[in-house]
Symmetry: C2
Subunit: 189 residues, 2 copies
């Protein structure tokens, strides 16, 4: 951002619009306000997924936006490893259809949604289904063809208060980043 902008933005507000700081301050969120997500925000969330890049522009994805309380409650019962999704006002189910790189393409769309959601005061937490039987149940509940690949039932809701602390710890940069060649630890200097 230019100095011109910075002068006119309060520091907390600036943090919310600058993309680097959005990425830096984002936290995984499992507790949501019960408030429904306005229609125009749901639409923008789906747009951020739709505009994501994909392998050879195949767009091999489907997004099911669930807001019905009964359906969300049932999804929370199936998701024993992430039952908190049952309290989210919105779940976007991500499904891949004959994708060459289902994980990468889905991951990029998911992250666009997560960052946009964060900038709107919302949060999310990835919930996958490792058990084949759970996947079958989710697909049956939502009428998703069984042959498609269920990636996640991604909950969205407004955050309760500001996140505290530093978030989950990260490995040191020198352990995961390498300079020019693997094994040569990256250093910012």
């Amino acid at each position: 951002m230019s100095g011109y902008q910075i002068r006119y933005l309060e520091s907390q507000e600036r943090e919310d619009v600058d993309i680097f700081n959005t990425i830096k301050t984002r936290r995984t969120v499992r507790d949501f306000k019960p408030d429904p997500i306005p229609k125009d925000i749901v639409h923008k969330l789906l747009q951020t997924a739709r505009w994501s890049p994909s392998s050879s522009n195949t767009q091999p994805w489907h997004f099911v936006a669930v807001q019905n309380r009964e359906t969300i409650k049932k999804l929370g019962e199936i998701a024993t490893q992430g039952s908190f999704i049952g309290n989210a006002p919105l779940i976007i189910v991500v499904v891949m259809d004959r994708a060459f790189r289902p994980g990468v393409d889905a991951g990029r769309a998911i992250q666009q949604m997560e960052l946009y959601a964060w900038s709107e005061g919302m949060g999310t937490c990835f919930v996958g289904f490792r058990e084949v039987d759970q996947q079958r149940q989710v697909k049956e509940l939502l009428n998703i063809p069984q042959e498609m690949e269920l990636i996640t039932t991604l909950p969205f809701g407004y955050r309760i208060g500001r996140p505290k602390g530093q978030g989950v710890p990260r490995k040191p940069m020198s352990e995961i980043a390498h300079s020019e060649s693997f094994g040569n630890p990256y250093s910012p200097d």
Copy 2:
């Protein structure tokens, strides 16, 4: 952004800082200025990857930042499907190590880098390696353990001019987004 902020931002500048518009205006970039990427920007790019969420916070990734011209030239020769990477001033190689969800975790980190890069006037284009022999060559060149999973050699560079047009076409929203249940086309109204 609040109305307060919007009043003080010129429309083009606002487009660059607002995360929704960053996502909306982002394009895949294959032509780069030869200008090197400043050290602090490389560092911030790696930070955006490091701060990405991952399955059970396993952080199963490695990022190799390559700026050596000879190495980049060789990567461009190996990447016959994306030889333009040979002209990028920076390549970040993404490698996953015993990841449960290598694609999704990599995709989320990649997208954080891509969006931050875009906000800095840079661009990128996903280049993967479908051929086992190409993967072997990249790993040998960069000393990456052969058992790790090579996801992409992601080029970064400053964009040449403003992108023209609408970008690659997207499927209609009603084709990929569903309301409450698969097969019930989503409509914004």
